[in-house]
Subunit: 469 residues, 4 copies
């Protein structure tokens, strides 16, 4: 059934579809209704294939079912569902209509709807993750590593509470996201590989299959192995929900890392800070009335999408509860789960696009450092004084910074050229400083600790890790 996309309701099906058409078409291979039904048919086909392999039915039956499962289209299933009011029964009816009378009994043999539904869902998330989500995340990680390496020496003021703290390098700041996103990459991968299926029947006790097999658990494992996944260690009518819960937590917590990056980067674009910028097309408009605006709208967009999708974890946690051997109140809700993954993949893609062309303004970063560098030495000064035994170094330096504000002289001036404002006791400690230590105080811009080395270390580690992925 064809429809104008602008008549659809979800922004994922019009606006954001158009923004990421290629990506969304790829993801639709797993997450559209077409894909859902296709994957469920694939499970049905695998089931009959194993029946044939075990000699329960002839190979020809399995081939018939295979072909039927490849030919059925969603429209047919929906038309049949009109009658049955039951989607999987409708699908089974469709398959049966396509095969010989001999083959019909071996369609859906001994299984319950949720065997097909849960198994197909595990497959969809697993495959989309492996084939689209992780590769996209890998590309973003590679972009971040590239930026971190390129900017590893570029001085930037470290900020805590929005206040200048002590200096780092911009590469070091970017390395944060290499490490956090890298760790999420592995978490998502692990959780996706741990998604489970089931072929355990109506209440999970293999009631029907145990009439025909002495080893219904082995049969279950064989069908699932055919599809590339493992069975739930225990099933009711459904797979233990925690496997999916963990997977979606991995996605949502990775989304949080993207949101943090987006927040950092949009703030670095504030007019007063202006250390970075999104690339701006020459025909692009920043504002409908303020022609001069250059907004960090891609970073804002990613933050916004996270706000839209992160709260859906509540639905996922609510869906952990299913009464007795199952109630259906997790059915409609879980149909929306793929949207979390789709929007996450789109956010990854958007960040990769915009970061690939990120403008970094090194001069401005330096200017910002210079704004407060005279205060920066407060930290090393206090620590050096302490190391020489000053009994209350922190307080002494805190007073020095207040004095600096009062007199308009820098802390450095107060401890070097304009010592008249300084407590004589403090001076005795200052005399203990070695030449090397004075160098640090005289060059606040060198006070960046391991910024460079750590950036390299993080980049090396993740580059190697990704190489093996």
């Amino acid at each position: 059934m064809e429809k104008d996309i602008f008549a659809s309701i979800s922004p994922l099906d019009h606006r954001y579809y158009l923004s990421y058409q290629e990506l969304f078409d790829q993801l639709a291979e797993y997450f559209s209704e077409n894909a859902l039904i296709k994957t469920q048919l694939e499970v049905e086909a695998a089931l009959t294939r194993i029946l044939a392999r075990r000699g329960i039915c002839p190979e020809s039956v399995s081939r018939e079912v295979d072909e039927a499962c490849q030919s059925i289209r969603p429209e047919e299933v929906y038309a049949e569902e009109e009658k049955t009011k039951h989607n999987i029964r409708a699908m089974v009816n469709c398959i049966q209509r396509c095969v010989s009378v001999e083959a019909r009994p071996f369609v859906h043999f001994t299984s319950t709807s949720m065997d097909i539904v849960d198994t197909a869902n595990a497959l969809r998330f697993f495959r989309a993750t492996n084939e689209v989500v992780l590769p996209g995340l890998k590309r973003l990680l590679e972009t971040l590593i590239k930026i971190a390496r390129r900017e590893k020496d570029v001085l930037q003021m470290g900020r805590t509470h929005g206040q200048h703290a002590v200096p780092i390098t911009f590469g070091f700041a970017v390395a944060e996201y290499v490490s956090r996103l890298g760790n999420r990459y592995l978490k998502i991968k692990e959780a996706a590989e741990n998604l489970r299926g089931k072929i355990a029947g109506a209440v999970g006790a293999y009631n029907a299959s145990s009439i025909f097999f002495s080893d219904p658990e082995v049969f279950e494992a064989e069908v699932l192995a055919e599809l590339g996944i493992k069975p739930s260690p225990y099933s009711t009518q459904i797979v233990e929900p925690e496997f999916l819960t963990d997977y979606l937590h991995a996605i949502v917590s990775a989304y949080g890392v993207l949101a943090n990056l987006a927040d950092d980067f949009r703030h670095l674009q504030r007019t007063e800070i202006s250390e970075i910028g999104e690339e701006f097309a020459t025909t692009q408009v920043g504002s409908s009335t303020m022609p001069h605006k250059r907004n960090p709208w891609n970073f804002e967009h990613v933050k916004s999408m996270w706000k839209a999708f992160m709260p859906r974890m509540i639905t996922v946690y609510l869906d952990q509860i299913s009464e007795h051997q199952r109630d259906l109140s997790n059915s409609a809700s879980s149909r929306f789960n793929p949207e979390i993954v789709v929007s996450f993949a789109a956010a990854v893609e958007r960040l990769n696009r915009v970061l690939s062309k990120l403008r970094v303004d090194k001069e401005r970063m330096m200017k910002n450092v210079e704004l407060t560098q005279e205060y920066v030495i407060a930290e090393p000064l206090y620590i050096l004084l302490a190391s020489f035994g000053h009994p209350d170094a922190h307080e002494a330096v805190r007073r020095l910074t207040i004095k600096s504000q009062e007199t308009g002289k820098t802390v450095r001036q107060l401890i070097t050229t304009d010592r008249e404002h300084v407590d004589p006791e403090l001076l005795t400690y200052l005399e203990k400083l070695s030449e090397q230590q004075w160098e640090i105080l005289n060059n606040p811009q060198a006070y960046i600790g391991l910024s460079v080395r750590k950036t390299e270390l993080i980049c090396d580690r993740w580059e190697e890790c990704l190489r093996s992925q």
Copy 2:
């Protein structure tokens, strides 16, 4: 752009679209991307109309703009947005291309994008509520009133903690939802009518419009009145977010009432309780493997949809925060808000469908009452004893119920025919009971308090209220 609906991502755009096609087509008049752009164009047209009315531009210009706004299609706007990367600027460009050189300056005159966006959104929610959501809710209320009246005398056991408590009538139980949903009806209406627009410019201070008007606030009010809404009492680049927050709270809290009803009704369908049933088509299938199943799947579905959409209030609360005169991080997220309303309207429709054909099994309700009616008199017995001055009536009756369980005799037997197990002191109190009072103890089924009267009262009240809507 036409697309196979089964290739779309959101279940609202395939599966649930097909379940409620008529309703969704109605809602798409407000909530599709077509509708969004159409409504934004309507705001632009109203703006120019007021300019003409004030003599700032000729009437002919306003007519030109009106016509342009009616002719522009989303595809054109999206094509233009490719260039501008700014959706409202793209729309303005499209309008300007359709009008004479003379008219162009008066398109979007003095306004900022968010004047158009926020005003159009207020309109969309307001209109969809008035024209679709509230009428649907009214129909559901009417159905509930009809059931409550019809079943007002049908005895049902009241249940607390899933345990039998004291009897009511089924009509009285349904009246709960008449009252709660009725109150939500009014809340939704009030909140929808209080949605606000703005024509206050880039930062809300009428910077641009005050160059041309001495009364820009009056101008704003005129444009909005033309569209049928009122201005925000204060604006930054955006309307005060609380108007929309209140509206979505009204929807989500009404959704909670639906979910409670759905939960109650699906539990009343439990095999062991079986007091009600969803109508079942003769071709309908309850389970793909258990052909005998009759599942309360519509009620389960409504509960499930609530689980999917209720948590989105978190997004709405997050969107209350917008930095300074606005940041864009509420833009993408708020594009998903209509989904809450669409899914709510669908849940209302589904409940109305299924409740219209609800099967009520009065015999079974009576049988369930009979299960425990002998315990029911514990409450009136304790209260009557107390009223005659028994110093510890609750404890005395509690012991009586334990005695009843031990002896297998009913509490009624213990206090009438088999008094040998009863404390002599208690007997002296029993003798004080009037004949009328003994009647209550002898007929637990009469112990339903005001169930009937209150049901009528609630139905009368809301019938009258809805008549004036």
Copy 3:
């Protein structure tokens, strides 16, 4: 039972208790376990008082119960609960032990636990709101009004997307919060006044009370009127949950306004912006290692508390569901609801404290305006050109700003003294500008629209409104 507060678990009972001791002691009058039990006893006393007034029991009985209810201490109730495993039964037992044999029957007469619990809770929220929350909010509003008036002329750059947009005044920016918080003030008040009680018995059908009264609904209304509240229009074992849901929504949505204010103000304290500052005690430490830091920690704290408490609305929405005439699964969860109100009141108090001593740096605000004022005129220039019929004014000015960046000359220079870079066609339009209009272009700092007037208007409106509160 006395205990070291540092041994308690909740930060509300140690750390934040110590930060707001006076406020918390006030709130404990409504929200501690002492207060809960005291209020429940008050409901029991009111119930017996109405019984006496109706002649069901002698006045002396009512006096006895009154006295008992004033004397009972939580410890006793808890000790009794050890035996009964039921808190309200325990309380009733305690009262009965304190009164004469004659009075005992009239304690808790015909009511169920939830009559007492729900009524007491409505009272607690209603009173705490009236007596602590709203007065605190009023003080904060007064502080904000004072700042808005004081700063109404102080030029500040308006910011959208974190980017400079067009100028406003700082007073105008503060007026946003006067308006939004003012509206929330009224919402909270309305919702608190609409909280409801019930005396409708075990399943809400007045089963027990209708044995003794022909008008049990009137009896219910009388008891509740004695306490100052109204009955739920319908009750099961509990009051319709939506009254409390609306109240907590009002609180949580007001919390969101505080969080937005906190976010704005902490960003205005960023080193590069530095337009405002929290007052800093001379002994205060900004950082344990960076003695020079001056962090906006109070604003950060308020944002953080909002993050902790806003998500609890999910619990409130979940608690709308109670099976049949009630299940208990909303009992423990709703015991935590007062924490939302307590933490909100504390956030209000904290903001009032810090805003009362807010440092505003007008010079810095002006310097920030000057940073970009040359771009600001892009907006009025584009609109003026448009008003004179320039067919594509936005695009023309957008190009001008790019030209400005390329040449290093301001837009103003480009259109006045250095016109060689400007399109001749544009010049023809510029010639149409009146002197007055050139003034605007020559003085971007005057381009603040109605900032001053609107600030006054908002302050006037809310000052008047609060005066009547």
Copy 4:
């Protein structure tokens, strides 16, 4: 500071403290404010200990600091914080006051507050998990295993959608929770062991420590190893937040399993089902007015606590975002995180208490099975017919169940003794059934699949796993 616990605000500090006093006292060793400060002091002591081990300061200094850290009480730190408005600086001042002038410089040497705070928090969660949470969970698992084994043969009807499906055993139903909770046990353990600390300084780049050490990362690892944890792979001012996010997800998702169990078990206590019961003390009161009630209040309580605490994951996800090298807006919010763990441990304890004394009513379970056993055979009948090649077995059997409802004869009667209602074609298939297969149809109670074997398997697996814990 001593205070009446009934004056505290959080139910965790009065009501639930009193319910689980021993457990809460244990947890207070990690999660009270006392414990927080004690653990932070422990980190400070470990830091100085490593300084001594590296020869940066004498052993005597380390001993002095050790002793000081053991002697300081929260009151002192809070009193000092009054002055500094900074909690960690206050603590450092307190330590320094307790040690010699020589030792002072080596207190907090080169570290920033968050080095101490984050490390102490990781330690608290890690230790409480190991020493209280996991042992409690293990006890609950052992109780569940015991019940599952004991009830492994006890027939129970499997239920889907609240409807009878096909039979299982009660032990099998309990095994679900052995498996799901067992898997959560491992998840919690893994996440707790992966919590990380940091000693990386103000912005995570080891700025200060690298003045004194050539290997500040090794120094960091040494301090943390002294405490038993590992460093964050990257730090800003704070540890990568995902380690804690994962841990709290593990707790919250385990909480969901408890809530599901609680829901199942309270529904099994419904009057009409009555298969299990909470043990009831002889003095216990079910209802304040209905002396006969036996409510599943412990299960309701656990569900309710989950509703209160699960939504707090939103706060945890929000706390993933911290601007640049950190903003403080995750500080207050994260102080409430321990409450999630405390309430979870209490729910585990409560479930263990109530399950240890669970009453199981086998006769009632059997009666419930008998209610619908005649329908149960629909599933094996359909599958057997299918296996013999019936082309539309599901539909044939579905019609048979409708026929059964119409005629009042069981499906079994229809296919055996009363075959006149059965389609002749169907009869030809029935004749193909073997004697063994007829046995299944004649004894629906045997249709329990692998219920017993799977129960044993799950119990064996987890018993073995727990043995090694």
